[in-house]
C-alpha cells in the first residue's frame, strides 16, 4: 500500500500537482494578453466560418446543399485552425527558450527538490496549456458545422488531433532547445524560421508532382476541379498534408495498395492522419527524454567535455581568457556596433557568406544550364530559365526581408534587455543619431545580400548581350538596375518596421514576432492583391504589380509572362493576345511605376523614421519607468 501511495503521490506531483504547471494554470488564464489572443483567435475562426460556409447567413437550398456547405466550412475552418496553431504554438513555445535564462530562475529551479521530470514536464505543459486551451475554445464552432451533416465527429477529432499534436511537437522542440542550454535570443528567430520553412517547404514538395504517392487514388474532393491531386507520401509527417486527407481533399490509399512498403510505412501511408499524431507524439517523447537527460547540463558550463578534450589536442591551448584584437570603432559608434558586433556575432557572418555563395552558385548553375541548352532551345529555354530564376530571386528576397526584419527588431530591445540603452541615453547622442546609426548598420548588413540577386540578374543580362544573335533574352536590361532599387526600397521599409516594433516592445521575442508577422503579413496581402490584378490589362498590371514585392520581381524579370497574363485572350484561337507591343508597353509602365513604388516605399520609410525620432525619447523613457 505504501509503495502504491508513493507512486500515486509521485504521479500527482509530476503532472496535476506539478508546482510549475499549477502556477501557470492559476495565473496565466487571467492575463489580459492571453484573453486578447483568445478573442482574436476565435474572431478569426468565426469570420472564416461565416465567410466560407454562409451557414448562419443563408445560402443553402436543400439539406444536401447544407451538408456540402458544412463540409466546405469544416475544411476552411480546419485549415485556418491548423494555420493559426502552426503560428501560435511556436510563438508561445519560443518564449520557453530563454524564459528561465532571462528570469535567472534556471539555477534556482535546479536546486529545488523538483525532479528533472517535474521541471521538464512542468515547463512543457505550462507552455502547451495555453495552446491547447486556445484550441479547445474553438470546439463550439466546429460543433456547429456538424449540425447540418457532411462532417463526422471523427473528422472533427482528427482535425483537432492534428492541431494539438502540432502544438505538442513545437513545444517539445522549444523545451529541448531551452534545456540543452543552447537557447539564446538568437535561437528564437532560427526556431521560428525553422518551423516556417518546414511547414511551407514540405507542403510545397508534398503538393508538387514529386511529392505525390502513385498508389493514392486521385481526389474526388473540391480541389479536383482545378487539378488532379493525389495524397503525398509526406502526409504522415506534415499536418497540412494530413489535414487534406481528413477533409477529403486527398484520399489515402487502401492498406492493400501500399502493402508492399512494409511496416510501419504501409500503416503510415494508409492512415496518414493517425501516423502524424503518433510520429509527433513519439518525437515529442524523445525530445522530452533528451531534455530529461540534459536538463542539468546548464550548470556545467565551462567544464571539459569529450569534444573539448579532443579539440584541445589539435588546437593550441589558451589561458582561458576570452579575447580578440580590438577593432577600429567608426565615427558613428552605433553603426559600427550594428555592423561589426551584432551582425557578425554567433556565426551570423558565416550564414551571410553561405547565403551569398549559395545564391551565386545557383545563379551560375542556371546560367550554365541555359547556355548549354539544357533548358531547351530558343524562347522555350529562355522561358524555362526565367521560370527558375524568378523563384530563386523570390527566395533571396524573402530571406533578405526576414533577416533584415529580425535584425532590426532586435536592435533596440536587446539594448533594453541588457540595459545598455540607459548608458546611451546618458551620452550626448540624440535619438536621430542613434536611429540613423542603427539604420546605417543595417544597410551595411544588407548591401552584400542585395548584391546577390542583382549580380545574378546582371550575369544573365551580360550573357544575353554576348549571345545577342539568339534573340531570346532571359532578362531585360532594365531589370539589372531596377532589381536593386526595388529590393532596397522593400528592405528599407522592412528594416524600419522592425526598428519601429523594436522601439515599442520591451522584449526581443515580442518585437521579432510582431514585426515578422507585420512584414510577412503585409507582403502576403500585397501578393494577394497583385494576384487579383494580374489579369486586368498591361497598363493597370504594369502600374500595380511594382507595388507588391513578389509580383514586382516577376514583372521586372519576366515581363513576357506578366504581359501575357494581363493581355486579353483571343477566343477564336484560344491563345492570349500578347504582342511585342504589349510587352513593350508593359515594360515601360512597370519600369516607371517601379521607380514610383520605390519612391513611395522610401517615403513611407522616411515618415516612419521621422515619427520614431520624434517619439524615441518619450517611448524609451516611459518604458524605463
Amino acid at each position: 500500500m505504501g509503495i502504491l501511495r508513493d507512486i500515486g503521490t509521485w504521479l500527482w506531483r509530476l503532472l496535476p500537482g506539478n508546482p510549475i504547471l499549477v502556477r501557470v494554470v492559476s495565473t496565466g488564464s487571467k492575463r489580459t494578453r492571453h484573453l486578447w489572443a483568445r478573442l482574436i483567435y476565435l474572431a478569426v475562426l468565426m469570420v472564416v466560418f461565416l465567410a466560407a460556409g454562409r451557414l448562419l447567413i443563408g445560402g443553402g437550398e436543400s439539406l444536401a446543399d447544407l451538408a456540402k456547405q458544412a463540409t466546405r466550412t469544416f475544411m476552411y475552418v480546419s485549415l485556418v485552425q491548423l494555420f493559426l496553431m502552426s503560428f501560435v504554438a511556436p510563438v508561445f513555445c519560443a518564449g520557453a527558450i530563454t524564459q528561465e535564462k532571462d528570469a535567472n530562475t534556471y539555477h534556482i529551479l535546479l536546486t529545488t527538490p523538483l525532479s528533472n521530470a517535474q521541471i521538464v514536464l512542468g515547463s512543457l505543459l505550462s507552455r502547451l496549456y495555453f495552446v491547447w486551451v486556445l484550441l479547445l475554445a474553438g470546439l463550439p464552432i466546429f460543433c456547429v458545422t456538424m449540425i447540418h451533416g457532411g462532417v463526422t465527429t471523427t473528422e472533427v477529432f482528427e482535425s483537432f488531433g492534428l492541431a494539438a499534436c502540432t502544438g505538442l511537437v513545437t513545444g517539445s522542440i522549444a523545451i529541448m532547445i531551452s534545456f540543452t542550454k543552447v537557447g539564446t535570443r538568437r535561437t528564437i528567430f532560427s526556431f521560428f524560421i525553422g518551423v516556417a520553412v518546414y511547414l511551407l517547404g514540405v507542403a510545397g514538395i508534398g503538393l508538387s508532382s514529386f511529392g505525390q504517392l502513385p498508389e493514392a487514388p486521385v481526389a474526388t474532393g473540391m480541389a479536383q476541379s482545378q487539378s488532379a491531386l493525389r495524397m503525398s507520401w509526406l502526409a504522415p509527417v506534415h499536418p497540412l498534408l494530413a489535414l487534406l486527407v481528413v477533409t477529403g481533399q486527398t484520399n489515402a490509399p487502401l492498406p492493400s495498395d501500399v502493402h508492399h512498403y512494409g511496416w510501419p510505412a504501409r500503416w503510415l501511408l494508409a492512415y496518414p492522419q493517425y501516423g502524424y499524431m503518433v510520429l509527433t507524439t513519439l518525437a515529442s517523447g524523445l525530445m522530452v527524454l533528451l531534455s530529461l537527460i540534459w536538463v542539468r547540463r546548464g550548470t556545467k558550463e565551462g567544464e571539459a567535455t569529450i569534444l573539448s578534450r579532443v579539440l584541445d589536442r589539435f588546437v593550441p591551448q589558451t589561458d582561458g581568457r576570452r579575447r580578440h584584437k580590438a577593432r577600429r570603432v567608426w565615427r558613428n559608434p552605433i553603426a559600427w556596433r550594428e555592423a561589426a558586433t551584432r551582425a557578425s556575432a554567433g556565426g551570423r557572418s558565416l550564414l551571410r557568406l553561405l547565403f551569398i555563395l549559395a545564391g551565386f552558385v545557383f545563379g551560375v548553375i542556371l546560367l550554365v544550364m541555359h547556355h548549354s541548352g539544357s533548358m531547351g532551345p530558343g524562347a522555350v529555354g529562355a522561358a524555362l530559365t526565367r521560370a527558375w530564376l524568378v523563384p530563386l530571386v523570390w527566395i533571396e528576397l524573402a530571406v533578405i526581408l526576414l533577416v533584415v526584419t529580425n535584425t532590426a527588431a532586435t536592435t533596440l530591445t536587446r539594448e533594453k534587455e541588457t540595459q545598455t540603452i540607459e548608458l546611451l541615453l546618458s551620452t550626448p547622442l540624440t535619438s536621430r543619431y542613434i536611429i540613423a546609426g542603427m539604420l546605417q548598420g543595417l544597410v551595411r548588413l544588407v548591401v552584400p545580400l542585395i548584391a546577390v540577386p542583382t549580380l545574378t540578374v546582371a550575369l544573365f543580362a551580360g550573357a544575353d548581350l554576348l549571345h545577342r544573335a539568339q534573340g531570346n533574352p532571359v532578362v531585360t536590361v532594365e531589370a539589372v538596375f531596377m532589381i536593386p532599387v526595388v529590393m532596397t526600397a522593400f528592405t528599407a521599409l522592412a528594416a524600419i518596421v522592425g526598428l519601429h516594433f523594436s522601439l515599442l516592445s520591451r522584449k526581443t521575442v515580442q518585437a521579432v514576432m510582431i514585426s515578422t508577422a507585420v512584414v510577412m503579413g503585409g507582403a502576403g496581402l500585397l501578393t494577394a492583391c497583385g494576384w487579383a490584378m494580374r489579369g486586368t490589362n498591361v497598363h493597370v498590371a504594369g502600374a500595380v504589380l511594382p507595388f507588391t514585392p513578389v509580383w514586382s520581381v516577376q514583372a521586372l524579370l519576366d515581363p513576357w509572362e506578366a504581359a501575357e497574363r494581363a493581355s486579353p485572350v483571343n477566343w477564336s484561337t484560344g491563345s492570349s493576345g500578347v504582342s511585342p507591343r504589349s510587352v513593350v508597353a508593359f515594360r515601360v509602365t512597370r519600369t516607371l511605376f517601379s521607380l514610383i513604388a520605390a519612391t513611395v516605399y522610401l517615403a513611407i520609410t522616411y515618415a516612419l523614421y521621422s515619427s520614431m525620432v520624434r517619439g524615441f525619447d518619450m517611448t524609451v523613457r516611459r518604458q524605463s519607468t
Binding site: R322, A326, R331, R337, T418, S426, P428
Partner: protein, 309 residues
C-alpha cells in the same frame, strides 16, 4: 551649486518615489547619498542623469535644468548605473572607444584618452579581453573608466561597490578618492556606510522620498547622538555598581550587559567624569570606562525609521 533640486517630486502611478526633495551639492564635493532600499536614491540619480523626467519640481545640474537642457547636461556628467550594460562580442578597448565616439572624441585624441583612462583604472592589461568575460570588480572599474573618457565635471555613481569583494571595494574607493582629489564632484549612493564615511565630504540621508538629513558625516553623527552611552568595567561587584550608577543624577539607565555596565546619560550631559568619581567614593575600582562611539551606521539607524516603500 553644481547640483540642485527644488521640490523635486517623482511619482510612479500612485507610488511617490520622491517627495519635494531639496538637495544641494557644491562643486568639488564628494556627496554620499544613503537611504534604505526603495527610498528614492536611484530615482534621484536617474533624474539627475537626464534619464527620467521629474513629475514636479526642478533639478539642475551645472546650472542647466533637467528636461529642458538635458543635451547640455549630458557632456558634463558621467553616470554609472547599479548594473553593468555589456555589449556582446566587444573587447575592453572597443567598449571604451565606442563610448568615446558617443562623446564625439575621435582620431588620435581618442586613442590617447582611451589609453590614459585604461592606465588610470589599471585595466590596460585587459584591453583585448571580452567585456562579457570580466569579473564584477573589473566591470565596475570599466564602468568608471567609461565615465572618465569625456572628463565630466560630475560623476554620478549608483551603488558602485555593490557585490564587490573587499579588495575590489578598496580599489574602487581609492580610485574615487583619486578622482575627488582631481577635482571631480562625486555623487555616490551606497549601502556600505563605513566606506562612505571615509570617502565623502558630505552626506544626504533619504527615506520614503524625503531628504531627512544633509550635511557632513560629523554633523550626522552629532545629530544622532541623542544621549551618551558610557561603558564601565569593574572587577568588583557589578550589581552594587549598577545600583550606585542608576541612582546618580543625569543617568537615565544603567544595566549589566556582557560583563560591562552600560550607562545611558540624558541628552544634555556630555561630561561623564562624575561616574568615575562616584565609583571611587564607593570604593569600586574601575578597570575601563569609555564613551560608546557613534559612527555613520549608528547615525543612519537612528535617523531613519527603517520604513521601506
Amino acid at each position: 551649486m553644481i547640483i540642485q533640486t527644488i521640490n523635486l517630486t517623482k511619482r510612479y502611478g500612485k507610488l511617490v518615489a520622491l517627495n519635494n526633495l531639496h538637495l544641494e551639492i557644491e562643486e568639488g564635493e564628494c556627496f554620499g547619498y544613503i537611504g534604505p532600499n526603495g527610498a528614492g536614491k536611484t530615482t534621484t540619480i536617474r533624474i539627475l542623469a537626464t534619464l527620467l523626467q521629474p513629475t514636479w519640481g526642478e533639478a539642475r545640474v551645472c546650472g542647466h535644468v533637467v528636461g529642458y537642457e538635458s543635451r547640455k547636461i549630458r557632456p558634463l556628467i558621467g553616470y554609472v548605473p547599479d548594473f553593468f550594460g555589456a555589449y556582446e562580442d566587444m573587447v575592453v578597448q572597443e567598449y571604451l572607444e565606442f563610448f568615446a565616439s558617443a562623446y564625439d572624441i575621435t582620431g588620435k585624441k581618442r586613442n590617447q584618452i582611451v589609453g590614459d583612462v585604461l592606465e588610470l583604472t589599471d585595466l590596460a592589461y585587459k584591453r583585448e579581453d571580452l567585456v562579457d568575460g570580466l569579473s564584477r570588480g573589473m566591470k565596475q572599474r570599466l564602468s568608471i573608466a567609461r565615465v572618465l573618457l569625456h572628463d565630466p565635471k560630475v560623476l554620478m555613481l549608483d551603488e558602485p561597490a555593490s557585490g564587490l569583494d573587499p579588495r575590489a571595494r578598496i580599489e574602487i574607493r581609492e580610485l574615487l578618492k583619486e578622482l575627488h582629489r582631481m577635482g571631480k564632484t562625486i555623487l555616490i549612493s551606497s549601502h556600505i556606510l563605513p566606506e562612505l564615511a571615509d570617502l565623502c565630504t558630505s552626506i544626504g540621508i533619504i527615506e520614503q522620498g524625503e531628504l531627512i538629513f544633509q550635511g557632513s558625516v560629523r554633523e550626522a553623527v552629532r545629530r544622532a547622538q541623542t544621549g551618551s552611552v558610557v561603558h564601565v568595567v569593574t572587577p568588583d561587584d557589578q550589581a552594587k555598581a549598577q545600583e550606585l550608577l542608576v541612582g546618580l543624577p543625569h543617568v537615565e539607565d544603567a544595566m549589566v550587559r556582557d560583563g560591562e555596565i552600560v550607562v545611558t546619560l540624558d541628552s544634555d550631559t556630555t561630561d561623564f567624569s562624575f561616574i568615575a568619581e562616584a565609583m571611587l567614593q564607593s570604593k569600586l575600582r574601575i578597570r575601563e570606562i569609555k564613551q560608546e562611539e557613534v559612527n555613520l551606521e549608528t547615525a543612519f539607524m537612528r535617523l531613519t525609521k527603517g520604513i521601506v516603500q
